[in-house]
Symmetry: C2
Subunit: 209 residues, 2 copies
DNA sequence: GTCTATAAATCGATAGAC
DNA sequence: GTCTATCGATTTATAGAC
């Protein structure tokens, strides 16, 4: 897929593409790559189908652009974990940042979930290289903290997996969560943060206050 | 959808339907309802497309039958939580049963994940009634244990959400997990069980041995 | 019951007028 | 740049021979 010319887009082209991407995120996150149709994206964006294909060469191209535009943002909180900080503060901050993203960006979370669930056709390479490398570094930080006796032993990889799983669950499976709990979004995420804070503190061998 | 005549199926009809359902589970779990095609199910089952439609009236009907046939099995471990047992044993047993299902039935896990992720078009009613009712009962059991001082305070609903999230993560996002960890399935799930046991014991205020 | 052939609908993408 | 009209491919589902 040729994205080289993207740098030379005019202002109006950027705006149209942005409109399309916003609508496409809605549709892709709800129906997945294959379930989404250009008709649905057209309706959601207020544009016609040929007009969309004037700005993007294909449906796959739109999906690729939406997904790659969100990848950096999605991995960003991981980079904020500093080896200089207090282990508990750093990991608690990471969990809270991830939970906040689930609350504020559920469509993005669902998009990545569907992508990975269906074999990560477009991001498998990124998972195996960039994400793995970043995670390896952060697990190394955790192992260093353990060695320095700043943290009790914990399996770093599975710690991150469980943080991802528990926080993203509230976005990806919101239908199920909301079917069971008849709460406002605000109450729900407040309770979730309280619970997850407790789980993480105890997992890291700290007694909750 | 009319499933009434299902009770009067002949032996050969049951067998054919079973063959189709097995193939359909493979395809639906990998591509989702909309991404799956009758062609793919035909190839996977070794039958022709019209032959499949001789036993099922439509693709949606196959999906519905596969999903509803697995629903009971999927919720079953929850029923095994006994209020008479030791709280820690019961909840640890439940987590391990769920993790075992993720290891042994990843396709089923992915099928439910995709269904819920995409708005639970066919199961929303079940989630809001049957699953909610069962979970309410089990949360009541946990609250009773807390009242009887057999268990420290914990938010029952979020406890179950986190068990679901952490255990199903290993099936639903196996592509991501395996991209990061270069382990055999056996090692991976052994480590996962050790980690999740530790998390759960600490969450329930018990020091791991 | 099973097949080949094909109808009918949907969907991605293009042609060509404006 | 944007539209209507439509092509061509895919896919669900059916018709009808065997």
């Amino acid at each position: 897929m040729n994205l080289i010319e993207k740098k030379t887009l005019s202002r109006i082209q950027k705006e149209k593409r942005s409109t399309i991407k916003k609508a496409a995120l809605e549709v892709f996150s709800e129906y997945g790559l294959r379930g989404a149709t250009l008709d649905k994206i057209a309706v959601a964006s207020g544009l016609t189908k040929p007009n969309i294909l004037y700005y993007y060469s294909s449906k796959d191209q739109i999906y690729f652009d939406v997904l790659s535009g969100l990848l950096d943002e999605w991995v960003a909180p991981l980079h904020n974990i500093s080896s200089d900080g207090d282990p508990i503060d750093e990991l608690l901050g990471y969990m809270k940042a991830k939970l906040k993203m689930s609350k504020q960006k559920p469509q993005e979370s669902k998009l990545f979930a569907t992508e990975i669930l269906h074999g990560a056709p477009l991001t498998q390479n990124v998972l195996a290289t960039s994400l793995k490398q970043t995670l390896d570094e952060k697990v190394a930080v955790i192992d260093k903290w353990i060695e320095e006796k700043k943290l009790e032993y914990v399996n770093g990889y599975h710690l991150f997996f469980s943080i991802w799983a528990m926080t993203q669950h509230y976005a990806d499976f919101d239908i199920q969560v909301k079917s069971i709990l008849n709460q406002s979004e605000e109450e729900l995420f407040d309770d979730a943060e309280e619970y997850l804070t407790s789980v993480l503190l105890r997992t890291l061998s700290v007694r909750a206050p």
